[in-house]
């Protein structure tokens, strides 16, 4: 397995009056070239989980394994782990700091020991991938628009060619087109580089459209970890933990109740359209 967590417990303020258990006996496996969505309301433990994945936080108990090796073993090279598991925080554009875009993107690869030239090539590759044209490379990151800044910041992580790319709400605050660009870019990256992508999102429609597998967090535990279609079939349970299914699921459900022979397992717009068309056709013939 590429990356796994085994029975991890994590506390904030352990042994103080503010003690909160953020994760309870959490186990998860990520294989190569997966696209996984993480959903859960604020405070459900998603962000803590992400920070355990690349060793920013240390589990209170349990293990985090990268290529089968415990990352907290004495002889484990955690610097290598951080190149292998790239973490893009929320609002990553707040972390841009260099004088120009290309230097900012070079910062990661250079720190992971690449030569100046290699780092530069990596940066050019990453900037091309996120779609930031050459004319922006020498600009100050602060002259870019919100969406462009976001892409520059993501390029900075991608430039290290991580095997696992962890994204904490990469589309927050972007307009619909900006969102689509980022998500399409992630899909392309996964296809080309065969990396694994872990995406935290608050938009069920987004998750339904792009990922294959969904993990649902609630109160520090993983309550579902399955194919996205299966997860979204649990509408009531999701609502109980203040989440929801994509809008189309509700539409199909209501239609089914009205006697339409639709497949309520469809979760994307395209699939919903197909099943409704089919049902409408059958109905007109009947």
């Amino acid at each position: 397995m590429l990356l796994s967590l085994k029975n991890v417990d994590y506390y904030y303020g352990k042994d103080t009056v503010y003690e909160v258990q953020a994760l309870k006996q959490v186990s998860a496996d990520f294989a190569e070239n997966e696209f996984v969505g993480l959903i859960g309301h604020t405070g459900s433990g998603k962000s803590t989980f992400l920070q355990l994945l690349n060793g920013l936080e240390k589990p209170y108990s349990g293990e985090v394994l990268f290529h089968g090796k415990n990352i907290w073993d004495r002889d484990f090279n955690r610097k290598q782990l951080r190149a292998g598991v790239g973490l893009v925080f929320q609002y990553p554009e707040h972390q841009l700091f260099e004088a120009d875009v290309i230097s900012d993107v070079c910062f990661g690869p250079r720190n992971f020991g690449l030569s100046e030239e290699e780092a530069r090539n990596r940066a050019l590759w990453a900037l091309d991938l996120v779609g930031l044209e050459k004319r922006f490379h020498q600009s100050s990151p602060f002259e870019l628009s919100g969406g462009q800044k976001r892409r520059a910041a993501i390029a900075g992580v991608i430039a290290s060619k991580p095997e696992v790319l962890v994204m904490d709400e990469p589309t927050a605050g972007l307009d619909p087109k900006g969102k689509k660009e980022i998500l399409d870019m992630l899909s392309a990256l996964r296809r080309q580089e065969k990396c694994t992508i872990i995406l935290v999102s608050h938009s069920m429609e987004e998750v339904a459209e792009y990922v294959d597998r969904i993990m649902v967090f609630d109160a520090g535990s993983i309550v579902f970890d399955d194919q996205k279609e299966k997860v979204f079939s649990h509408i009531e349970e999701l609502e109980r933990i203040q989440l929801a299914a994509p809008q189309v699921c509700y539409i199909l459900r209501a239609l089914k109740q009205k006697g339409f022979a639709v497949d309520t397992g469809a979760i994307t717009l395209e699939a919903a359209k197909e099943t409704i068309l089919e049902a409408v056709k059958n109905r007109s013939h009947a």
Partner: protein, 283 residues
């Protein structure tokens, strides 16, 4: 009298390089017309960089138009002597709740505005109580804002504005940094203020689902108002919206796709219920 009356307002600013030379002139607003009646709920949609926030700042007299005229409740915002009153008339809520909260206790934060209006102590406390109740946070009046969720913090910020009793509230992407629950709370608060208190609401948002509750929607693109109409009218034109880098709610999009495939579905479906009803009607 119109709450907001903007006629052909433009706003441009100069970009200055390190040597102090003007490198370019950026036109953020280009001839915007906007008429809003008291008590209306208006949503403003537009891609990043379309001029939405510049427009919001105009409404609060943080900036004045470089061309055209803008009257807020009859006051010309370009006149220095009106600025104070314009700001009392339109309150403003920004995107990031953390940047707007200044006190360490919720009720003190909400009281900051009325205190600055020079009101009597008793009146201030009445206003604080009343506005915290309006945003449904009265139980948290003694809490530390830092310990609240994003949606709650944003509602504290709204309460702080409500306490000054503005006739109009402008919210610039108030839900962009919130989770779905926080978003629902904030939108519910906006609708309640509009329906119950009759406050004019200008809601700037990226979320199409939030715009369906508005009386009218303005769509902005490259500093201009490209479309204006009821949600039904606006969302009947998904292709034009897409050209402006916008989107439509998922139910609307599905209705539109079905119609293109030959299913008789009316234009501008906004909610799940409408779509289901439309399909049932025809079959």
């Amino acid at each position: 009298m119109d709450m907001i009356n903007a006629s052909k307002i433009s706003y441009s600013y100069e970009r200055i390089d390190e040597e102090g030379n003007t490198t370019e002139r950026v036109a953020a607003l280009r001839g915007v017309d906007m008429q809003v009646q008291p008590g209306e709920f208006i949503a403003v949609l537009g891609a990043n960089g379309s001029g939405k926030s510049t427009l919001a700042r105009q409404l609060n007299a943080l900036i004045a138009p470089t061309e055209g005229t803008l009257y807020i409740d009859g006051m010309d915002t370009a006149k220095e002597e009106n600025v104070q009153n314009v700001r009392r008339t339109t309150g403003m809520v920004f995107q990031n709740p953390d940047n707007q909260i200044i006190a360490s206790v919720v009720e003190e934060d909400v009281g900051f505005g009325p205190e600055n209006l020079g009101l009597e102590c008793n009146t201030i406390w009445e206003r604080v109580e009343e506005s915290l109740k309006a945003v449904n946070l009265y139980a948290y009046r003694k809490a530390a804002p830092g310990k609240l969720s994003g949606g709650q913090k944003q509602r504290v910020a709204i309460a702080g504005i409500v306490a000054m009793r503005p006739k109009c509230i402008v919210l610039d992407e108030p839900t962009a940094m919130l989770d779905p629950k926080g978003r629902r709370e904030v939108i519910r608060t906006c609708r309640a203020l509009n329906e119950v208190e009759g406050v004019t609401i200008i809601l700037i948002t990226h979320y199409m689902e939030e715009a369906i509750y508005a009386d009218r929607i303005y769509c902005m693109d490259k500093g201009q108002v490209k479309l204006c109409g009821t949600p039904k009218e606006i969302f009947s034109r998904p292709e034009e919206l897409e050209a402006m880098q916008l989107d439509v709610p998922q139910a609307t999009k599905l209705g539109y796709e079905l119609k293109k495939a030959g299913v008789p579905v009316p234009d501008g479906i906004l909610t799940i219920e409408e779509l289901v009803e439309a399909l049932c009607c025809f079959h």
